[in-house]
Point group: C2
Chain length 648, copies 2
Amino acid sequence: MDQRKLTTPVAIPNVTVHDSFFSNLMKITVEKLLPYQWKALNDEIPDAAPSYCMRNFRIAAGVETGEHGGMVFQDSDLAKWIEAAAYTLYWNPDAELEKTVDEAIELVRRAQLPDGYIDTYYILTGIENRWTNTKDNHEMYCAGHMLEAAVAYYHATGKRTLLDVMIRNVAHIASVIGPEEGKIHGYPGHEVLEMALCKLYEITQDPAHLALAAYFVNERGQSPNHFEVETEKRGLQVKPESPFNLKYYQADVPVREQTAAEGHAVRAGYLYSGMADVARLTGDESLAEACRRLWYNITRRQMYITGTVGQSSIAESFTFDYDLPNDLVYGETCAAISMAFFAQRMLRLAPRGEYADVMERVLYNGSISGMSLDGTKFFYVNPLEVDPAKCAHNHQFRHVKPERQKWFGCACCPPNLGRLIASLPGYLYHTCDDTVYVNLYTTNEMKTALTSGEAALSMTTNYPWDGTIQMTVDAAPAAMTLALRIPGWCRQYTVLVNGETVTAAPQDGYLYLTRDWQAGDQVTLTLEMPVVTVRANPKVAENVGKIAVMRGPVVYCLEEPDNGPHLARVYMDANAAFTTQWEPETLGGIVSLDTAGYELGIADWDEDELYTEQKAPAFSARPLHFIPYYAWANRGPAEMTVWVRERL
Amino acid sequence: MDQRKLTTPVAIPNVTVHDSFFSNLMKITVEKLLPYQWKALNDEIPDAAPSYCMRNFRIAAGVETGEHGGMVFQDSDLAKWIEAAAYTLYWNPDAELEKTVDEAIELVRRAQLPDGYIDTYYILTGIENRWTNTKDNHEMYCAGHMLEAAVAYYHATGKRTLLDVMIRNVAHIASVIGPEEGKIHGYPGHEVLEMALCKLYEITQDPAHLALAAYFVNERGQSPNHFEVETEKRGLQVKPESPFNLKYYQADVPVREQTAAEGHAVRAGYLYSGMADVARLTGDESLAEACRRLWYNITRRQMYITGTVGQSSIAESFTFDYDLPNDLVYGETCAAISMAFFAQRMLRLAPRGEYADVMERVLYNGSISGMSLDGTKFFYVNPLEVDPAKCAHNHQFRHVKPERQKWFGCACCPPNLGRLIASLPGYLYHTCDDTVYVNLYTTNEMKTALTSGEAALSMTTNYPWDGTIQMTVDAAPAAMTLALRIPGWCRQYTVLVNGETVTAAPQDGYLYLTRDWQAGDQVTLTLEMPVVTVRANPKVAENVGKIAVMRGPVVYCLEEPDNGPHLARVYMDANAAFTTQWEPETLGGIVSLDTAGYELGIADWDEDELYTEQKAPAFSARPLHFIPYYAWANRGPAEMTVWVRERL
């Protein structure tokens, strides 16, 4: 990689977001998601299965008695909650919340064993069994999330308690696992610790921290295979034909030999993110190349138009190139989120607009679709086509829900969304030397230190509903370069600097504006945002003969409350004319789209005819009303489809 | 029902089939299927998991020692083999085979306990547990199949040993289960004993035998629910949200209240068949009405164009109306076969052509697709659309195989197909008073006793490849009525009697020809058999915008060896012109079809484009070659599709 092109995100405290779109999500996170989740962690939600999460920590800390409850990875729920809470403290200081976090951290500290070990599952069920099943029992997954929480809380508050706890925990892990003789030559069964260690290294600059991350990445899939060795020690075997085979863990071959995203999608997304971090911090070009290869495979072969990934409910996994079923999809909210993580890390390796394009695709579509507009209900699975009857009566579709659920026994998605949204300001800008990369467009103010001095920008826009972005340079060093991302979806745009048109061609998706910036300089970027009908590569069998509707970064869908049932019988023309309307009172404020479509009629068909050669298709006019995909399923269970049949 | 219209099949020994289509299947059954299966039952197939079936009987009979092996229903494999063997003895006498059957029967006789009990699973694993889990442990399923075998072998050979064994077994079952106080108020967890008991009653005329069948049918789903009561006794619960809930067993409500086919498809098909038998033998109109309602639901809402049923692999079950996924389908060979059983029994209740239509649909398509053309490999699952990559790499499609398998651990389908094919002569004709109903067209000779005397017919045809059927009345009583089925698929036909055109309208699918028949009278029926493109009711979301190709009763498909890959990108016009050719050397002799189609091109698409609004669909000409669906997958793993996209 070109080390000179490495970019650094502008940190959350330096970006103040106050637009209507993301601010609302951030507000929901603070007002609804975090308090609700804290209650859930403390088993205080009536009618919901208990989490046992905090109870496990209290028992392990010796302040309560009892047995471990919940999943083997239950500790991670607290970690993700702390991490999300930490991010909110930047932009929504809250002494009460901070006190609650401190108390939780104190429990974690007291639960930690003298040797640094911390996982409540093994502490409470039999410490003698720890480190015997790294494949499935999530000790390093929990450690990874808690380390991410520790880093976030340290950055947000300067408090080191949890950070120091986790540094001791990492030291313990490094004493057990590593390349040295006598240690386990292993790596996490569920990745996340890799990227957490890189974050830690960026604070501590302790080479041991980066070395452990690199070891995990480099050892993965090597022969003899750690998971096979470990499983055989337990008298069992990793079966190649099982959905939970080595591919499930991205451990069938070393990571540099992996050419297609495989296995459990969240694990995969977290691994690839960690790989990109290690590549950046160690300058490892072969690892960066592996990241680019996997990125290419995902984004050109296995990613839904919504940014969702993970096609199969069995093992929540990637399947194979161009296999993108819309109705049977898994598309876990966490998997989409992991793609935002991966995208941001690829952007740090090189400032290419396509990485930010995917970040945007995920942020406006397949991630936030996981939460109801009021922040109280959640999807685990994010389908692109739903028939509630199928969910109810065909068990093969039981994983797909036509309505968001209150909470989950395996509650990974809601807190994951919380930490993404709470950290959103950190995705807007990257910098490199004297260049400010503007990745995402939303109303905000930013300041950052460039090589030659302070820069400050303010931005006003009604994005994603409008493509006009007004920026003011509030401060700038001489020769600052402003790199404006021209989104991949955008075909026409104009840039004015102080009212004068600038003509320049974007390089790798960014338009570079270098000049002697003065405070008060005005930049107006106008991204033409017509409604477009999009086709998938015909190699995607599922979408042959279908089109999707987009406007700017927003993917649209047809939903039953607006369009009635039987969406499978709806057709449209690719060149149909659309009208757009801003509906401030609908679904939290959306631009909705209307067009003329067709319905394949059934009037000709007798009730008792199932197959016949005697009926020609009869189409009638059917007006179509599209809403943004992320806003579906907020009006009761209903049919929905993103891809609509095209009359060819 | 109208008791005067009840019909009776002309028995197998009275019909000699010697056409090229079915005779070949029958020959394969005798020469390949039965010997292979006998080896399998005796664990003599190298590289295959042992069946343990005969070994279990030998151990139970006291001639060998050991433990029970295989599934809880393993006994039924021997039963289905005996039944199939029995049918073949009519048209292929074989003293060696008969001796083998007699020896097997002797083992069964010796395995039977003094009280009449016979199931080797409980005999070998703990007799004290028998009758504690009628829901899942298949005692009555095995008894049902063995009773069907006993009846078939008695009819074919006159030998009573197995029949007497099973009469004692039935007496034992009736002593344990029934309406009387102290007995279990239960019924089989997997139906089949109901129809077997009706067959037994037709031999014995013992009212107890019919009463037990009627009790099973009438008690099913009554409250308190037998399966719930029984499961609670074992300290467990039948969970409504489980795929193995009461619907799975067709036991959630009494059978007369069931309006849609539900649950495990084979169980359902066997239950409905038993219901039709009981309705006929008891004259129970409310039960006949329930049969007609369920028949209507299946054939107008839940049956594939191939006659296949059972949409979901999870619990091998029916799902809901108009839900007919082509690729995800289960479509067990046994389930299609059960539809032939149900159809024949509905035909006994009333001579309506639609019943024989389904019999024909199943026989030429979704049942025989379960066996390779050489009779050595078998499908459990019969999909209508296959992409081998999906079967290999998307675990949600793991139940679908792109190639037939050598044998199955749960080997229900091959022997079931064996007994269907071996008994095929028994499906051709039904009679009622002086009427001969001609249900199926194939080269054969038949004789039967009508009310007024003997009738004999001979028939020559190249059906299903040609619609001309030449019949000779070899003997007939005065005023015999010949009722020729005019298939539901046939739009134009002519009937000549001794060269003179007869004009008559079919009633309920049969054309009634009543006259003073003389020996030597010639009847020529010509069914116009053009290639037609068929659409599904648009309520079937899966098939919207698609057409299927049929010629006569035969459903066609596109397969990769003839058409190359990427069948999902193939389009055609509904009014495309077809050429037909008889290919005697191809796939056992078929009529293949050719037409001009289109391919949705990918040439415009860059390798790295997954979604774009910039590519218009580009079609190019692509010749299409169709083969009969039943003959697919005989040339290696390959893509296949029955439903083809239509350019609209």
